[in-house]
């Protein structure tokens, strides 16, 4: 449940870098995605076809402010997106550094405050920093989207303990791992930790077979979620026989 909307799929998908629009459409369907994220760019050829594809997918649109490096750019882009897509949902990215695509969390909190006050449902792309998380919630965010690793890097959960601490620090808040996942096992791990959903793009789009990979992620997210609900066994340092010793025959 995010911003009063119940979602049944816990896998959100980006729409960039697919080999073709047809593969993108198939991947969305194979992922069972209910939410897809899209960008705003200068109108060019092919814009109409993409609009139609997005509409035909039947998905809820989460427009993003990808590539924005300042509060002003991000806020302006959010307003343009709201008009264009007819939704107040916005995946807020304020990028601090071109190489790491690490969020500028100072700009992020400021932009989140402006947009939330203006009626936007803000989905902030953030880090696992707990104080930044608190500030984003205080700014009006009802969901937090920490990175797993830098965007497009496929490194998975680079700071497991930090992400675990974040999950524990914000028990009632929907948390989504956004960015950095490369393999379904990493998505499963995030879900096992108790994250509510994952958002990914490159791992599917750049797979040799994106449609099959979309399906693989869907299965992993489902498995990870089920495992979280089932409750994982505690880890031990030493072995412990699973077969009882009682009743063992004397054969030596």
């Amino acid at each position: 449940m995010v911003y009063g909307t119940a979602l049944s799929s816990r896998l959100m998908l980006g729409t960039a870098q697919y080999p073709s629009p047809a593969v993108l459409a198939e991947a969305i369907s194979a992922a069972g995605a209910e939410v897809i994220t899209v960008s705003l760019r200068r109108e060019g050829p092919g814009g109409g076809a993409f609009r139609e594809l997005v509409r035909a997918s039947g998905c809820r649109i989460l427009p993003n402010t990808a590539g924005c490096h300042s509060v002003k750019e991000a806020v302006t882009t959010a307003h343009m997106a709201r008009e264009l897509f007819g939704t107040n949902w916005i995946k807020l990215e304020v990028i601090g550094h071109a190489d790491t695509l690490q969020p500028d969390v100072f700009g992020l909190v400021e932009a989140a405050r402006i947009l939330a006050a203006d009626g936007f449902a803000v989905f902030p792309y953030t880090t696992e920093d707990l104080i930044v998380g608190e500030r984003l919630l205080a700014a009006g965010c009802e969901v937090l989207m920490p990175w797993g690793a830098p965007i497009g890097s496929g490194q998975g959960l680079r700071n497991r303990e930090g992400l675990r601490a974040m999950r524990a620090a914000f028990p009632g808040v929907p948390l989504v791992i956004d960015a950095g996942l490369g393999a379904p096992s990493q998505a499963a791990e995030a879900m096992e930790m108790g994250y509510d959903a994952v958002l990914l793009n490159t791992a599917v789009a750049k797979a040799a077979d994106p449609v099959r990979m979309a399906r693989a992620f869907a299965l992993a997210v489902e498995a990870g979620r089920a495992a979280h609900l089932a409750g994982l066994m505690p880890k031990r340092d030493m072995a412990q026989p699973s077969t009882p010793v009682f009743g063992m025959a004397e054969l030596a």
């Binding site: 980006g14 729409t15 960039a16 870098q17 697919y18 993108l24 994220t37 899209v38 960008s39 705003l40 760019r41 200068r42 109108e43 060019g44 814009g47 109409g48 993409f50 609009r51 997005v54 427009p63 993003n64 990808a66 002003k72 302006t76 307003h79 343009m80 997106a81 008009e83 264009l84 897509f85 965007i151 497009g152 793009n201 490159t202 789009a205």
Partner: protein
């Protein structure tokens, strides 16, 4: 009048943003517009006058992650 439209110099007859969108062949409801870095809502385009040298951005949905 000479403008910068999506980063390219253009010579136009339009005097308002709404006319420019029309003149350039965009579908008015399929694009979002900004003038000199400031968002201009659809319903304000007709009342938004253009001046020589203005920078206009016309954006539409694009693949993104």
């Amino acid at each position: 009048m000479r403008l910068e439209l999506n980063g390219e110099p253009v010579e136009v007859r339009a005097t308002t943003l709404a006319e420019l969108v029309e003149e350039q062949g965009y579908q008015p409801r399929a694009v979002a517009t900004a003038l000199n870095g400031v968002y201009v809502p659809l319903h304000c385009r007709a009342a938004t006058a253009l001046r020589d040298g203005a920078k206009i951005e016309v954006l539409s949905p694009m693949q993104g992650g």
